[in-house]
């Protein structure tokens, strides 16, 4: 039923995951059956694959503008986030026990912080304003002599709001505090240069940039020791044990190479399409709110609230029409439905339940946007017509 047979499928959920790029898959294939060795082995089978790992390390390093030795391969973005936070807390426990982060981080950071809080670490969750922006002065004033880490995401996964990472890097350097950035959503969509940004740790995830699921990387600046999360073998210079996911790492390298090649034009192609979707919806559907509209945003992300209806119901209608998008709110029994990001932005709880996120990809075309603009107004009206919260409201339709 879902994504029905005869409707064209349109995928606008690229912040959730992306398809593996054909070039990436091609590059990975030899590393399953032919070059299958364990890169740690000294014999021919191992030495066949270790150069491939180092090549991939170089490709990731080039995208981030760092040394290859500063790249640690991980299994996902969540691992990088856990590693950066827990590893820092352990290694710097003599120096202090205070972390500064934001209220809108991904759960991989927020839940890790809550876990560390239970272990006695002090966490400051910086608020954001109505547009999702941070107060840099407040960040700086939150630093104490016991602060060991500032953890701020490059771009928010729900709203696409981009934080002033370069300015935060300056503040962190000035106070000699380690700076970790979750760049899972920014890599491949914005230039991410760890030297310009002066970050010390930075996480990324393969499946958001056309590599497969199950591979990621953490940049660890030289001179910033980190206690391993996974103990065992001597892989990754003893920073991360576990036999390498060779095909995945090779794929991540190619995806980073491609992202680098395309950075000059792919984001520039997505942004006008996103603008077209945004202005089209604002024109066709009354009483909608674009979240983070006046903040700097990723070129591919559009997060909106549709007053009077519930986001999940809208998503299912879109799904039936072949359009895949996502909703920050979920109606589950143990959940209040409102996303923590919109809550931190002060969005009214009822309005917050109507949020939908469209996230474009490098393959998104104008026809996809046209189709969304064709489908959304009708289903929103249908849901509003049956909503007790829409009663008595005129359905003004701007022309």
């Amino acid at each position: 039923m879902k994504g029905e047979r005869d409707v064209k499928r349109i995928y606008l959920d690229n912040n959730a995951t992306t398809a593996v790029r054909p070039e990436v898959l091609q590059g990975m294939l030899p590393f399953f059956c032919e070059a299958f060795g364990n890169p740690s082995s000294v014999h021919w089978a191992g030495s066949q694959v270790s150069p491939a790992i180092e090549k991939a390390r170089g490709q990731v390093a080039q995208l981030l503008n760092c040394q290859p030795t500063e790249i640690v391969f991980t299994a996902c973005g969540s691992e990088g986030d856990n590693f950066a936070l827990k590893g820092t807390v352990d290694v710097l426990r003599e120096k202090g026990n205070h972390i500064i982060t934001t209220a809108v981080e991904h759960p991989a950071v927020l839940d890790t912080c809550r876990f560390l809080e239970k272990k006695g670490v002090e966490i400051t969750y910086l608020p954001v304003d109505g547009e999702g922006r941070l107060d840099l002065d407040l960040l700086e004033r939150s630093i104490t002599p016991r602060t060991i880490l500032i953890s701020v995401m490059w771009a928010n996964n729900e709203t696409g709001v981009v934080f002033p990472i370069h300015e935060i890097g300056v503040v962190a350097r000035r106070h000699k505090v380690r700076f970790f950035c979750d760049a899972v959503q920014a890599v491949g969509r914005l230039p991410v240069d760890v030297q310009k940004a002066q970050v010390d740790l930075l996480s990324l995830s393969g499946h958001k940039i056309g590599a497969p699921k199950g591979v990621g990387a953490l940049f660890v600046r030289k001179g910033n020791p980190l206690t391993p999360l996974i103990h065992g073998g001597h892989q990754e210079r003893r920073r991360r044990a576990g036999t390498h996911n060779v095909p995945g790492i090779v794929g991540l390298g190619i995806a980073c190479q491609k992202a680098m090649d395309e950075l000059s034009f792919v984001p520039g192609r997505m942004e006008p399409l996103r603008e077209c979707l945004q202005s089209g919806l604002l024109t066709l559907v009354p009483e909608i709110k674009v979240n983070g509209a006046s903040a700097p945003r990723l070129p591919n992300t559009l997060n909106l609230c549709f007053a009077g209806i519930e986001g999940e119901a809208l998503l299912l209608h879109l799904d039936i029409a072949g359009i895949a998008a996502s909703s920050g709110s979920a109606c589950t029994s143990d959940d209040h439905g409102m996303s923590h990001v919109l809550e931190a932005m002060g969005v009214d709880p009822l309005l917050g339940q109507s949020s939908v996120r469209f996230s474009l990809g490098r393959d998104t075309v104008a026809e996809d946007i046209d189709r969304v603009l064709e489908v959304v107004p009708g289903v929103v009206q249908k849901l509003r017509d049956m909503s007790p919260f829409w009663e008595g409201r005129a359905c003004r339709r701007a022309s």
């Binding site: 039923m1 879902k2 009077g308 209806i309 519930e310 999940e312 119901a313 299912l316 209608h317 039936i320 109606c331 589950t332 029994s333 143990d334 959940d335 209040h336 439905g337 709880p349 009822l350 339940q353 017509d385 049956m386 909503s387 007790p388 919260f389 829409w390 009663e391």
Partner: protein, 122 residues
């Protein structure tokens, strides 16, 4: 995730809308997720002659509301009061476990409207 029945009632809800000359209305909002239903009743000789609803909520909430109206239309008020969320969920060929609370909405909204009707009669 959802049964064909849920998708049918979600995409094509029965008895949706308002009633200007209702004998009673009942509104119920879930404290869990904010899903809210408004039920309109037309009652004659202790029988639910007509019923309409408006619902804000997820697909499970909308489908539950819709099928609930079909289940009690033409039935007595006592039958209506005996309707449970399990009966609603069952009529929909089941709901995912995390969506069971959405089916309460329909039964609770109906009970509220019937209660309001009976209180008004006194």
């Amino acid at each position: 995730m959802y049964s064909e029945k849920v998708l049918d009632h979600f995409t094509n809800p029965r008895n949706v809308g308002e009633m200007t000359n209702a004998d009673a209305t009942g509104e119920f909002g879930s404290s869990h997720c904010g899903d809210t239903i408004k039920v309109f009743l037309k009652v004659e000789d202790n029988v639910i002659q007509d019923i309409k609803f408006k619902t804000f909520g997820c697909a499970a909430a909308i489908a539950s509301s819709s099928i609930m109206t079909e289940m009690v239309r033409g039935k007595t008020l006592e039958d209506g009061l005996q309707l449970t969320n399990d009966m609603v969920a069952e009529a929909l060929d089941g709901l995912p476990p995390e969506k069971m609370h959405c089916s309460c909405l329909a039964a609770d909204g109906l009970h509220k409207a019937i209660q309001n009707y009976l209180n008004g009669q006194k």
